[in-house]
C-alpha cells in the first residue's frame, strides 16, 4: 500500500464567524450548572424517597439566620452583576482597565459577601448543633447538612473562581478576563438560584 501524500493543512486565519475558545468558558459553566442541577436533583429525589421510607422523619425549625444568609447571597449577585456591567462598558481596545477599575470594587464586595454567606451557614450549623441536631440525629437533619455543605462547597469554589478572575482583571486588558468574569458571574448567579431552591425544599420538607 503506497499512501498518497496527505494534503497540506490549509492555513486558516480564524474569522469572527467561527466558534472560538472565548465562548468555551461560558459553555463550560453552563455544563457545570447542568451537572450540579443533576446532582441536587438526585439528592432531592433521595430525600423524598427517604422521607417516605420510614416513620423516623423529624421536622425541625430552620435557623433564622438562613434567611439573612439568603439576602447576603442575593445581594452579592447584585454587586457582581453591577461590577460585570461596569467593566464590560469599558471599550475593549482600552490599554488598561483603569477607567473601569471602580468596577472591581463590586468584585471585592462580592467576595466579602460570599465569605459572609459561608460564615453564616456555619453559624446555622452551630445553632442546629446547639439544639442537639447533628448529621446522624435524624434523616431530615442529615439531608439538611448534606444540602448545605455541598452547596457551601460549590460557593467556596465560586469564590476561588472570582479570586482567579480578579487577578486576571488586574493584570491584563482585552476580552479574555472579561469573558472569564462573565462566566464566573453566571456561576455565581446560579449559586444564588440553587440556594433559593434548596431553601424552599428545606423549609417545606424538614
Amino acid at each position: 500500500m503506497v499512501p498518497p501524500a496527505a494534503p497540506p493543512p490549509t492555513a486558516a486565519p480564524r474569522t469572527a464567524s467561527e466558534p472560538s475558545p472565548l465562548e468555551a468558558a461560558q459553555t463550560g459553566v453552563w455544563l457545570a450548572i447542568g451537572t450540579i442541577c443533576m446532582s441536587f436533583a438526585a439528592l432531592t429525589s433521595a430525600m423524598v424517597v427517604r422521607q417516605g421510607a420510614a416513620p423516623d422523619w423529624r421536622h425541625f425549625q430552620l435557623p433564622h439566620i438562613l434567611y439573612a444568609n439568603t439576602l447576603v447571597l442575593l445581594t452579592s449577585s447584585g454587586t457582581l452583576e453591577w461590577s460585570r456591567r461596569r467593566i464590560a462598558a469599558v471599550p475593549v481596545g482600552t490599554a488598561s482597565l483603569v477607567p473601569g477599575l471602580e468596577g472591581l470594587s463590586g468584585v471585592y464586595l462580592t467576595l466579602a459577601l460570599g465569605l459572609l454567606f459561608v460564615t453564616g451557614q456555619v453559624i446555622a450549623w452551630r445553632q442546629l448543633a446547639a439544639q442537639g441536631l447533628f448529621l446522624a440525629t435524624a434523616p431530615s437533619s442529615a439531608f439538611f447538612y448534606v444540602f448545605t455543605a455541598l452547596h457551601g462547597l460549590h460557593v467556596v469554589g465560586g469564590l476561588a473562581a472570582l479570586l482567579y478572575v480578579l487577578r486576571r482583571l488586574r493584570r491584563m486588558a482585552g476580552p479574555v478576563p472579561r469573558v472569564a468574569l462573565r462566566a464566573a458571574a453566571l456561576y455565581w448567579h446560579f449559586m444564588g438560584a440553587l440556594w433559593l431552591y434548596l431553601l424552599v425544599i428545606l423549609a417545606t420538607r424538614v
Binding site: T27, T35, R50, V146
Partner: protein
C-alpha cells in the same frame, strides 16, 4: 476575536512538564491509556485467580498464600476472598478500563485533532481529570493492603452490605470505605473530562467542521460525554451518602432492626432500594459509556477498510442519540428481583426492548457497509468485525434478560455473566484493540506488526467465545454466580465445563502477551509510519505521525468534506480527505 490563533498554553519545557504533568491532550490521552493498561492487567490477573479457584477449588494457587495470608491461607481462596477478588475485578474493569481507555484515553487524544482544535478547551482541567483518576485508582488498589482487604460487595456495592461497616465481613471496613472514596474521586474526574469533551466539541471546531462533518468517533465521544455528565453527577452524591452511612452514622440506605454478625446495627429507616435506584440510574448509562465509544470507533474504522462510505451516516448518529436517551429509561431492569413493584418491572422492560431497536439498526448499518465491499483484512478491520460478532452474540442474550419473567430465573446465574461480558466487556475491549491498531501509527509514529496483530486477533476471538459462550449454558442449567466453588451440590457435574472455561481464560489471557509485545516493540522500534497509512479521510491523518505539539503546526485546517467520502474519485485515490480542497472531490 483575533487572539484565538494563539495556543492555549506554551510548548512545555523539561521532562516533567512534557511527559508527566503535561497539559497536552495527546500526552494526557496516552497517560489514560497506560493507566488502563495497568488496570486491565490487574483486573485480568484477578479473574485468573477466580477462574483457577472455580475450576480446582481445593488446589492451592502457588504464591497466593503469601500475598493474601488471610484471604487465601495456604493458597486456597476463601469464599469471602473470592468475593473480594470479584469486587475488585468488576470495579477495576468497568471504571478504570472500559471507561478510561475507549472514552477518556482515545477521546482525549483524538477528539481535539478530529475537530481541528489545538487542544482541549480547558487543558488544566484536563490534566486534573487524569491525575484525579490516577489517585482514584491508587486509592482502590490501596484497599488490598489495608485491614482485612478490599470490599466484597461487588462493583455495584449494594446496600446495606456496603453501608454497615466491618460487621458485614472481611473488607467491609476500611476496604469498602476506600472503594466509595475511589469511586467518588472517579466521578469527579469523569465529570471534569466530560465537561471538557463537550465544550471542545461545541466551541473549538475548526472552520468548516460542521456537526454533520464530524467523524463518527467524535460523535460517539461527544454523546458519551453527555451521558457521563448526567450519570456521574448522580453516582457522586450517592457515593457521598454511602460514605456518610459508613463513617458518620447516618441511615440513608440502612434499614431498621438490621442484625449482622449478631450485632444490632445502630441505624434506622434507610432504604436499600434507594441505593439501587441511584446506582443503576448511573449504572445502566455506564454500560453505554463503555460501549458507545466502541460504536464510534467501529463506525470510524470499518469504512476505511471497506473503502465504502458508512451506510446511513445520519441514521447512525440518530441511533447513537436514541440509545443515549433511552439509556436513562431502563435502569430498573437490573432490579427485577430487588423487591421493586412488579408493575415497575413491566415499565422498565418495555424501554429495554425498545433500546434494542437502535442497537440493531446500528449493527445492520455496519453489516450493510461491508456488504459487497472489497474489505482490506487488516488487524483493526478484523477487530471491528470481531466487535460486531461479540456485540451481536451478547446482545441477543439481552433480549431474554429484558423479560422480567425470564430474568427471574436467569438473573442470578452465569447467563448474565456471559451476557454482559460479551456485550459490554469483550465488545468494548475489541473496540479498544481496533482503535489501538488503527491509531498506533498516529500516536507513536510507528506501525504495529500486522502478523502479530492477526495472531492476537484470532487467538483472542476464539478464546473469548470459549470463555463466555459456555457461561450461557451454565446459566440455563441453573449455575448460580458469585459462588466461590461448586463442590458438594447439584452443580458438581458442571465443574468440567468450568475447568474448560478456566483453561480457555488462561489461554486467552496468554494471547494478550502477543499484544503487549507488539505494543512495546512498536513504541520502541517499529517501522516508521507515514502520515496516512490507512488512506483515511479524517483530520488526524492530515497531520504528521505523531502530530506536533499544537496538532497542525500552527496552521489549523479548513474542512471542506465529510468524513465518509470513500469510494469517490479523489485526487489522491479512492477517498477525499476532509481538509482537501473542494475541487478534490464530489460536490
Amino acid at each position: 476575536m483575533t487572539q484565538t490563533t494563539a495556543h492555549h498554553h506554551a510548548p512545555p519545557r523539561g521532562f516533567l512538564r512534557t511527559h508527566v504533568f503535561s497539559l497536552d491532550h495527546k500526552v494526557i490521552g496516552k497517560q489514560y491509556l497506560d493507566l488502563a493498561l495497568v488496570a486491565v492487567c490487574t483486573g485480568m490477573a484477578l479473574s485468573w485467580l477466580m477462574r483457577l479457584h472455580l475450576a480446582w477449588p481445593e488446589t492451592p494457587i502457588p504464591g497466593l498464600g503469601k500475598l493474601a495470608p488471610t484471604g487465601a491461607a495456604g493458597g486456597v481462596i476463601t469464599p469471602e476472598y473470592y468475593l473480594q477478588l470479584m469486587t475488585m475485578h468488576g470495579t477495576i474493569m468497568v471504571f478504570f478500563v472500559l471507561t478510561t481507555a475507549p472514552f477518556a484515553g482515545f477521546g482525549n487524544y483524538f477528539l481535539p485533532i478530529q475537530v481541528g482544535a489545538e487542544d482541549m478547551a480547558f487543558p488544566r482541567i484536563n490534566m486534573m481529570s487524569f491525575w484525579v483518576t490516577l489517585v482514584a485508582f491508587l486509592v482502590l488498589i490501596a484497599s488490598f493492603f489495608v485491614g482485612d482487604g478490599p470490599a466484597l460487595s461487588g462493583w455495584t456495592a449494594y446496600a446495606p452490605l456496603s453501608a454497615v461497616g466491618k460487621d458485614a465481613g472481611p473488607g467491609q471496613g476500611v476496604g469498602q470505605t476506600l472503594w466509595a472514596v475511589s469511586i467518588t474521586l472517579f466521578c469527579v474526574a469523569q465529570l471534569l473530562g466530560s465537561l471538557n469533551f463537550i465544550t471542545t466539541t461545541l466551541d473549538l471546531r475548526t472552520k468548516g467542521m460542521s456537526l454533520a462533518r464530524m467523524p463518527f468517533s467524535t460523535w460517539a465521544w461527544f454523546i458519551t460525554s453527555v451521558i457521563g455528565l448526567i450519570a456521574f453527577a448522580v453516582l457522586m452524591p450517592a457515593c457521598i451518602l454511602l460514605i456518610l452511612d459508613r463513617v458518620a452514622g447516618t441511615s440513608f440506605f440502612i434499614p431498621a432492626g438490621l442484625v449482622i454478625s449478631d450485632r444490632l446495627q445502630p441505624h434506622a429507616g434507610g432504604s436499600p432500594l434507594l441505593w439501587q435506584h441511584l446506582f443503576w440510574f448511573f449504572g445502566h448509562p455506564e454500560v453505554y459509556i463503555a460501549i458507545l465509544p466502541g460504536f464510534g470507533i467501529v463506525s470510524h474504522i470499518l469504512p476505511v477498510f471497506a473503502r465504502k462510505p458508512l451506510l446511513g451516516p445520519r441514521v447512525m448518529i440518530g441511533c447513537l442519540i436514541a440509545i443515549a436517551f433511552l439509556s436513562y429509561t431502563v435502569w430498573g431492569h437490573h432490579m427485577f428481583l430487588s423487591g421493586m413493584n412488579p408493575f415497575s418491572a413491566t415499565l422498565f422492560s418495555v424501554p429495554t426492548l425498545v433500546i434494542t431497536i437502535p442497537a440493531t439498526i446500528v449493527t445492520l448499518l455496519w453489516i450493510g457497509t461491508i456488504y459487497g465491499a472489497k474489505l482490506r483484512f487488516t488487524t483493526p478491520a478484523l477487530f471491528c468485525l470481531g466487535f460486531v460478532s461479540v456485540f451481536v452474540s451478547g446482545g441477543i442474550s439481552g433480549f431474554f434478560l429484558a423479560q422480567p419473567s425470564i430474568d427471574t430465573y436467569l438473573h442470578g446465574t452465569y447467563f448474565v455473566v456471559g451476557h454482559f461480558h460479551f456485550v459490554m466487556g469483550v465488545a468494548a475491549m475489541f473496540g479498544i484493540f481496533a482503535a489501538t491498531y488503527f491509531w498506533a501509527p498516529k500516536m507513536f509514529g510507528r506501525m504495529m506488526s500486522e502478523t502479530l496483530g492477526k495472531w492476537h486477533f484470532w487467538l483472542t476471538f476464539i478464546g473469548v467465545y470459549c470463555v463466555f459462550m459456555p457461561m450461557h449454558y451454565l446459566g440455563l442449567a441453573g449455575n448460580v454466580r458469585r459462588y466461590s466453588a461448586f463442590t458438594d451440590d447439584y452443580l458438581k457435574p458442571m465443574i468440567p465445563l468450568h475447568q474448560f472455561i478456566t483453561i480457555a481464560a488462561l489461554f486467552t489471557g496468554a494471547a494478550q502477551l502477543i499484544f503487549l509485545f507488539n505494543l512495546v516493540r512498536t513504541r520502541l522500534r517499529g517501522p516508521k509510519a507515514p502520515s496516512n497509512p490507512w488512506e483515511a479521510t479524517t483530520l488526524e491523518w492530515s497531520t504528521t505521525s505523531p502530530p506536533p505539539f499544537d496538532n497542525f503546526g500552527g496552521r489549523p485546517p479548513v474542512v471542506h468534506h465529510g468524513p465518509n467520502e470513500y469510494g469517490a474519485t479523489g485526487a489522491g485515490g479512492d477517498y477525499v480527505m476532509q481538509a482537501s480542497l473542494p475541487s478534490a472531490g464530489p460536490a
